[in-house]
Point group: C2
Chain length 298, copies 2
């Protein structure tokens, strides 16, 4: 019952002649004759009546023909599906990413991926690194864009980490700020500035710094959203820390200064997949898109 034999069987059934089937299959007549004989022996049923001018399906032959075509069709479907998966003309890609990455990096990579492989179904889930990694392990996501602080390294044994970029911390200041012309600043230079924070504790997290422990930013205003935060900065109400990843384009009324790396912990950004598990073509491809997207950010 090998597919090969079934294919021969189908060809003979279609042509009504062993010889003709052999011609189209590029076989000799004897080979096809044998295949049919073997199939009849295997099934224990005569599949063809031998007529003077060819062969004709028996009852049993007709019975088998339906099954044979179904099997061959299904095998073709399997081959097609696998090829599609390989060539990214089908399938899906489930991405997870931490919030800042969803601002620009991941959407750009997804857009590039979608335009190249429009037939792959995309899904994106925003979440925090631990949750994303859980999703990965549970099989609910194919790849996760996560960030890791140096003192909280990711579990390299359970995940394959593809390093994308080191997160750079920017300081947003009004165009009129005294430091607006600088490229890089140190935190202590901002000791007298008011900070506009997303939350009092979140800002502490961003500033897990090597500064003297007694440095406490003065926080006057708390604004949850980036747009509001930057609006306050533009209005001259203070300065704000902004992850570079969150910035899609420099607003015209602000200056974005690079914070000296010694002042902020360097959070590294990775694309994570489950360790030891081969990356499906879609994931593999998406990683290159992510690399290209990070190149555009640098």
């Amino acid at each position: 019952m090998q597919p090969h034999a079934l294919q021969v069987f189908r060809a003979v059934a279609e042509h009504g002649t062993i010889t003709a089937a052999a011609r189209t299959l590029r076989y000799t007549q004897s080979a096809v004759s044998r295949q049919i004989a073997a199939l009849e022996a295997e099934t224990g049923s005569p599949l063809f009546d031998r007529l003077p001018r060819g062969v004709a399906l028996t009852e049993q032959g007709r019975c088998l023909l339906g099954h044979a075509e179904a099997v061959l069709d299904r095998l073709d479907a399997a081959r097609r599906d696998l090829a599609a998966l390989r060539d990214l003309t089908a399938g899906r890609l489930r991405v997870g990413a931490f919030p800042t990455a969803v601002a620009a990096l991941v959407p750009r990579a997804l857009a590039a991926f979608r335009s190249a492989h429009p037939q792959v179904a995309l899904s994106l889930v925003e979440g925090l690194t631990p949750g994303l990694l859980d999703r990965l392990l549970a099989g609910d996501a194919d790849v996760a864009v996560v960030s890791a602080a140096p003192d909280q390294p990711l579990d390299g044994d359970r995940f394959d980490l593809h390093h994308l970029v080191d997160e750079v911390l920017l300081v947003a200041v009004p165009r009129t700020h005294r430091l607006a012309h600088r490229r890089t600043v140190r935190l202590r230079e901002l000791a007298d500035d008011a900070f506009i924070a997303g939350s009092a504790t979140a800002e502490e997290t961003l500033l897990r710094a090597t500064l003297p422990a007694d440095f406490r930013p003065r926080i006057d205003i708390v604004a949850a959203e980036w747009t509001g935060k930057l609006g306050c900065v533009a209005a001259g109400l203070g300065v704000a820390l902004v992850p570079a990843l969150a910035v899609r384009a420099t607003p015209p009324d602000l200056a974005l200064l690079r914070l000296h790396p010694d002042d902020a912990s360097v959070r590294r950004v990775f694309a994570a997949t489950v360790a030891g598990r081969s990356r499906p073509p879609a994931v593999q491809r998406f990683l290159t898109r992510l690399d290209e997207a990070t190149a555009g950010l640098r």
Copy 2:
């Protein structure tokens, strides 16, 4: 993509281990390992991730698994169906028969067949020999019970004829008839009797005799149905010709005399199938049932 390989693939997917799959398949580990490798080479996709404690399906592996199971199931179904056809636990049998045979012979054979093979779908069509043979050729019937007069032999080149019985012609006479005690009579002994006929011409057909051409039965009463005909005979209105096949049991108020074979053409009864076409198991079996049924008639 041989079923064999797919079976191995399925087993490995189920067990999660090449070694365990090999054990249940009664193969060595190496053989299974190779099979998987070959399948991966053929599909061009990794199907399993090699983990430290076994293997796990990849995306492509899961894709293939569905198809593999479908293919294997369908192959099993094909084997089952063919076996059922062979063992007569499925399939159908389409019988055609000429009217007289439908009286007793064919129904008895069908009844015996059905009780032995209740899962075979039976159908019976009554018709005249030429029409039945056309049905055979057209593929609308599997076997036809037909009759042939000696001067109208059946086409033995186009049909395989399985001789069942020679039709015997009986003469029904009242119990009080002067010949009622005889076993065999000659037609000329009935020259003075009134004949009760189905139709004036039909009776001529039954009597395609070797008698002198001037013998003309006297026909007083025409009755279409056998029951009416025999009723008339029982009432003493005359005698009637009855094919033995049409008689299920001797009516108590009649005597049935065998007509001397020289006086009536011997019509032979055959089970016909298309020449050169193998008889499906159901047909083959039905022929033996017909043989048994004819044995009961003799």
